[in-house]
């Protein structure tokens, strides 16, 4: 073990960890919006929308993220759009996450007792109000722990975007390892940074969960 290597690399690795974090958060945000849309389409849309949603979920859960990432990365130039790797990476992360998020939302929607929506309808609530005031707030609450779990998965998955050249934590670690020939030290440090980020997220998730359980 050579500690000086770690101390030299640490500032750069921490900065790269920041990139990992915000790329994951952006991917998650995109995944939430897309996932919620797909979920509502599947639950409340017609048969065509429901089928399309099911197909989307099946495809994006069936294709490995690395393949998906390269697909998006090469698809855009193929149809004549030139985007920076970072955009392709966030897009791929978000689209993949949307498939999982839509399933989380769907499960949460079904977990809201049916009687509540029926009672609201019987009281004369319009459909939009039933969604806005009864189904969505409760579904969001039920799905929070699973969503935090999804964010942790996304944070780990974001290491794959290093292959298209985004200078996030794994990529930066890889460059340092190649330059210093101290792979063990560098990768252990990288692993520790990921671990700390994930444990922090998990602790946050636990806190939120306890708070929600209290009511």
């Amino acid at each position: 073990m050579k500690w000086s290597v770690i101390f030299d690399a640490l500032p750069y690795l921490l900065e790269a960890a920041g990139t990992t974090l915000w790329v994951s958060l952006l991917g998650m945000a995109l995944g939430q919006v897309l996932g919620a849309t797909i979920c509502i389409g599947r639950v409340a849309g017609g048969r065509t929308l429901a089928r399309f949603g099911a197909l989307y979920v099946s495809f994006f859960r069936g294709v490995p993220l690395l393949v998906l990432l390269l697909l998006v990365y090469y698809l855009l130039p193929f149809i004549g759009i030139d985007v920076p790797p970072l955009v392709a990476a966030i897009g791929a992360l978000g689209m993949s996450s949307a498939a999982y998020v839509s399933e989380i939302f769907r499960g949460a929607l079904y977990a809201v007792p049916r009687g509540q929506a029926e009672a609201a309808a019987a009281l004369g609530f319009p459909a939009t109000a039933i969604w806005r005031r009864i189904l969505l707030p409760q579904a969001l609450r039920i799905s929070l722990p699973a969503l935090i779990n999804e964010l942790i998965l996304l944070l780990k998955a974001s290491s794959l975007i290093s292959v298209v050249g985004v200078a996030e934590l794994t990529r930066t670690g890889h460059s340092f390892a190649a330059a210093t020939y101290r792979q063990m030290e560098i990768y252990l440090t990288v692993a520790c940074i990921y671990l700390i980020m994930n444990l922090a997220l998990a602790a946050m998730g636990g806190l939120v969960e306890r708070r929600l359980a209290r009511g």
Partner: protein, 220 residues
């Protein structure tokens, strides 16, 4: 797109597919065995051992597979661990899977109703017999969906092995793409192939699940 290309590259794609299957099954088997050992050891009444295993599971689950792979492949030689790419891939998949499998087994053991174990012991069954005839069968039935799911996740992680030059399907596809410049079509074919494979495994898993739980629902 020249479809004859696929004929030309057929042999290397076929060998890539075999390497993918090898890494998947071997890595999965290592993961299941290791995970089972971890789950059983964690049940022993020894707090330090339990903390150690907990730390192992959390460390593996808290870090990306790619980083674990780099650590083993690039960092391994520093501690005298020299494996070739495919071996590294199998070991890495095994270690990665073992943490998740251990959690699955732990959940399965917890899902065995206490009353069944108590009933067995009051009937005079010995602890090993209770393990073999009550705990294990009940647990295995309970974890079939989770096991299938984890095997699917592992099949998708095999793609990552291409990054450390394991000559599996993705690697062969990428060399083909580099030589033919038909990058997009090749990756698209890869995506469709994986989609098909994952759907097939998921379906297989569901039919196994129906089969082994038939005694509970009464529908064969």
């Amino acid at each position: 797109m020249d479809w004859a290309l696929y004929l030309h590259y057929g042999p290397s794609l076929a060998s890539g597919f075999l390497v993918t299957l090898l890494c998947w099954f071997a890595g999965g088997a290592v993961g299941i065995v290791l995970g089972f050992v971890v789950a059983v050891l964690a049940r022993l009444p020894s707090p330090p051992l339990r903390w150690l295993l907990r730390g192992y599971v959390e460390a593996v689950r808290g870090t990306p597979f790619l980083v674990q792979l780099y650590l083993l492949y690039d960092g391994g030689p520093a501690i005298g661990l020299r494996l070739e790419a495919t071996q590294t891939g199998i070991v890495a998949l095994g270690i990665y899977g073992s943490a998740y499998f251990a959690e699955i087994f732990r959940g399965g053991f917890n899902a065995v109703p206490r009353g069944q174990v108590e009933a067995a012991s009051s009937l005079g069954m010995t602890p090993p017999a209770i393990m073999r005839r009550i705990r294990l069968p009940v647990m295995l039935v309970a974890i079939v969906p989770a096991l299938t799911n984890m095997m699917i996740i592992l099949s998708k992680e095999t793609v990552v092995l291409s990054i450390i030059t394991v000559p599996e399907l993705m690697y062969q596809m990428q060399s083909m793409a580099a030589e033919t410049f038909a990058t997009f079509e090749t990756i698209l074919a890869m995506a469709l192939l994986y989609w098909l494979m994952v759907e097939l495994v998921a379906r297989l898993g569901r039919s196994v699940e129906r089969r082994v739980t038939a005694f509970m629902t009464g529908v064969a």
